[in-house]
Subunit: 321 residues, 2 copies
């Protein structure tokens, strides 16, 4: 067990965080739960921290990256589906009609997911996602989506793990989508990733057993679904939760209601220059109730603009890109 | 990383196994995948072994222990449900009419589970299970059900973990039922337990967030469901699988079809004296297809009578109880 319990060491592990209340609250929480003999000590097996992905570990604007992947899949598959040209919500994707798409909401997105994420084996799907991630570019930053991870959060993950925490992802995105990159990007292995899922079916094809993705929703890991999913996958209540939108509210509510010291953080996207500024009115990552209730619930609000020295690893120290 | 790579040490770790093909096949498999530089070396992160529970890690006769728990719950709740006296399958439970119960099959059992395992929070359910396990006695052995774990399998779990395997349970039984004892009995933490599940729902009760168990099946973790559940929870294919019934067939099929060295074991219950003898015709733990196909699929068949020096920890060396 390695515990960086000296000030200098701790600061070395969070170099992209500015000194301030947010950073101090993290360090205080970790110090208390790891202090042997302390009244708030938590044994390593119970040091579980859960992280939302979109908007918490990597960016989610102009739209959830998996949504952009879905749109690219619709375009790639469109030649085989001529009816999509006149059928919503496919028509809106092909015409880049974001207004109609936004109006179609979750229901419309699920319809697109069913049409593009099913019918193949789990291994074939993994290959399609990896190929897309290797070539697609973010429209604002003109970089791979996998470059859009938040450097301060990578440091936080490492800092927690150095203090014997296990770090889990609890994403509203697809579980098999996130698993294709979680280990490489965050050091989080597939068995520590939860997410929304579609039904898969066991089949023996030409003597070979495979798992085939079916066009049917299995579980939506968002809002009330997050504590439900955590309980199903982990079977015990984490002691720390990190999110950025109201989709994470119930996860933070449930985690911080446990007995003993608990910790909740909400990342507030208020940095239009280095990333994006959005909260109450956003289609992706809407933060409304959480912004109002964080102070009275004792959750730490992180200002990306003020608390983060840099947002992405590719930035220079002064924020230039 | 601790590797017991000397003969004496290895035998010390499996003292309840008789020398023979089964024990030799286990040791050979572990030696090969842990041999650095060997052509069949598997890195620790991929050393995942999955175990069925009923009939593989603990006994399952005269009926699955969770089934006996359900019957006890029906009896305990019966005074509040006078209609159960005339309503099947409840009537059969109250009258100990095992023939009618057997005929009601999985459908009948699910109906009983819905009526007895739902309506409370996850924490309340855990308490009910723990209270039952602390007091209920096995009809044949007159011991706590938690005494009915197989000593050779406990040694095997430890042996695998000493060789940097992670050990998981993949049970047809209820995930929250098995999690109440998995860590204490097997050293397997809740996050490494999969099982059948019912839907749980997030609610805020008097300002306190809770998860409430609903009378609705979520997932049946048996037969084709086992590889599906493993893929969902772990996200990668294990390299070793241990089962005892045809409910484990697809799990072994999927695990042993992966690339690289794989290992499958079926425990054959052929020891009427020390435990029970059953296979093709059994209601609980039926083993038919697996018995026929194990040899040609390269799976190891373990004879409880011949391969195990002792079955339970409470036996003396010579099998006396």
């Amino acid at each position: 067990m390695q515990q960086p319990d000296k000030g200098a060491t701790i600061e070395d592990m969070l170099p992209s965080w500015n000194d301030g209340e947010a950073k101090a609250s993290i360090i205080e929480f970790v110090s208390r739960v790891t202090k042997k003999g302390g009244s708030q000590f938590v044994p390593p097996m119970d040091r579980i921290a859960v992280f939302d992905n979109d908007g918490t570990l990597w960016a989610e604007q102009p739209f959830y990256f998996q949504g952009l992947f879905v749109f690219d899949r619709v375009r790639a598959l469109a030649p085989k589906h001529p009816d999509w040209r006149e059928k919503q919500p496919f028509k809106a994707v092909l015409e880049k009609d974001m207004k109609t798409l936004a109006a179609a909401g979750l229901h419309g997105l699920i319809e697109l997911v069913m049409a593009t994420h099913a019918g193949m084996t789990t291994e074939e799907f993994e290959r399609i996602v990896k190929d897309w991630l290797a070539t697609a570019r973010h429209p604002k930053f003109n970089r791979a989506y996998t470059d859009l991870v938040y450097q301060p959060m990578l440091e936080l993950l490492s800092y927690l793990r150095a203090n014997d925490f296990r770090t889990y992802i609890v994403s509203g995105g697809g579980i098999e989508f996130v698993r294709t990159f979680s280990e490489r990007l965050y050091g989080i292995p597939p068995e520590q990733v939860m997410g929304s899922s579609i039904v898969t079916k066991f089949e023996v094809r030409e003597g070979r057993p495979v798992l085939v993705r079916e066009p049917k929703m299995d579980f939506i890991d968002d809002h009330e679904g997050k504590p439900v999913g955590i309980n199903k996958f982990i079977g015990r209540r984490p002691i720390a939760a990190f999110g950025n939108s109201d989709g994470d509210f119930q996860m933070l509510e449930w985690v911080t209601a446990g007995t003993g010291l608990r910790f909740g953080i909400i990342i507030h996207h208020d940095d239009a220059e280095r990333e994006f500024a959005y909260d109450r009115a956003s289609a992706a990552g809407k933060l409304d109730r959480g912004l109002d209730e964080a102070p009275k619930r004792g959750w730490t609000l992180v200002s990306m603009e003020n608390d983060w020295k840099r947002v992405f690893a590719f930035e220079k120290e002064n924020g230039e890109q």
